[in-house]
Homo-oligomer: 257 residues x 2
Amino acid sequence: MDPLDPTSTGAPADAPADTPAAQLGKRARNRLAVEADILRVAREHLATDGAAALSLRAVARDLGMVSSGIYRYVESRDELLTRLIVDSYWSLAAAVRSAHDTVPPDDLEARWDSVGRALRAWAINRPHDFALIYGSPVPDYEAPSERTEEPGTAVLVLLVALLDDVRAAGRLADPRWLGLVPARAETGVGAMLESPMFAATRLDAVDLTQGLAAWTLLLGAVTSEIFAQLGPVPDGEALFECLLAASRRCVIAPVGD
Amino acid sequence: MDPLDPTSTGAPADAPADTPAAQLGKRARNRLAVEADILRVAREHLATDGAAALSLRAVARDLGMVSSGIYRYVESRDELLTRLIVDSYWSLAAAVRSAHDTVPPDDLEARWDSVGRALRAWAINRPHDFALIYGSPVPDYEAPSERTEEPGTAVLVLLVALLDDVRAAGRLADPRWLGLVPARAETGVGAMLESPMFAATRLDAVDLTQGLAAWTLLLGAVTSEIFAQLGPVPDGEALFECLLAASRRCVIAPVGD
DNA sequence: GAAAAAATGTGAGCGGTGCTCTTGCTTTCG
DNA sequence: CGAAAGCAAGAGCACCGCTCACATTTTTTC
């Protein structure tokens, strides 16, 4: 609207140095703000009432807009759920990565433990987000894999790198500890190794299966605690430390071995 | 009522041979039939659309009754959910127990494996029921513990007995295998041993923690597969066998040890 | 057997949901 | 400036859980 700004009619594409929002028209600026608001309010509702109770009408109401108005910004309830899921994945990945990056790379045990503890801490702080990505899938809804694949595997990518470091250091636990039958491991996960995720590694099917056992135990420990599947546990943190150590042993051999 | 009653899975309550129902008035007889019908139809809806999509109106419609009429038989939607949950618990317990009872009691490994395989098979056959009891809790609803506690712990009771047999046979895996710190295990699960569930056993905190690690790994393996947390896995059964063996090793020492 | 009581079926109705469509208005762009 | 696109608002549809008043039927009680 403002003709005084000669750049306003130019390509508002991107690559602004400073104040990117100022270059956009009031319409585009408002859209960004509203989209952010929707996600923020939806997050609040998610944290207080859970995913199933998430209501577009309620979000719109909180934002002072008419119920139908929110559909200008959100395609559907499922699409909002997808945004929240992607958001949660990134949040978890960031938490895990930042915790992992504070420990020295050569301390393999500490790296595993930091990932496990960060996962548990994140899940305790945001149980509904945890349920969103690791709980039962929302019925009649499946997240579009093209949007969730990358953030969803971010944590696994980090663990695969760690697993490869363990292998490179010759510290992989003896597969016989887990009673692993190589042939069965091969048929079970062999094809997974084709994934680009493992391109930079020298892991084989047995290594990967060990890693999956450790990850399954770790995630199972967090899931069990968050969903209270065992009822009230006296000291959840102590129990988790036990299970964390057990999961660590699945992949990393103790020093005196 | 008989917990392992096969009719609890939803078979229509036809009058048995000895016809105890014949002694009741037509009103009481009809009530039993309608209650069974409701549970059966609700099960079908649960299997096709999931728990979140379960609708009392739809169940009533399928039964040819007016939507408000169903409230003569069901207190609320949550109460119907509770019935389904209790039903699922018993169904799982029956499946696991019947599988377990077909193997000789002195074959400890086979007993563990049979439990694990029965759990997985049941979960694959009835994924929504599995999600109902081991998935994310339904928001704004918590199952009344007085109704779910007994069926919910039935599988654990069986595993605790197995664990105690493993201990009695001197076949418990070395706790160092899992890197267990006794003091931490004590604080973590010590108080759980007070439960009457462990009254007939001689298990200590370390034994129990080992068992919890095994159970967590086992349940995590099934959860991961049912909820497809790892994406498409080439051969789910082979992978499960690997994880099943790993979970078994958490509690039972291999023979040549 | 008649009357009272309890259980059951019926329909209207309340407030909530996701979502669509139409109607105007404002901003943006050629 | 005018056309096009984006937007707010409201009405409306079909569904949901749940309540209530009312008529009917069965059971119990006198």
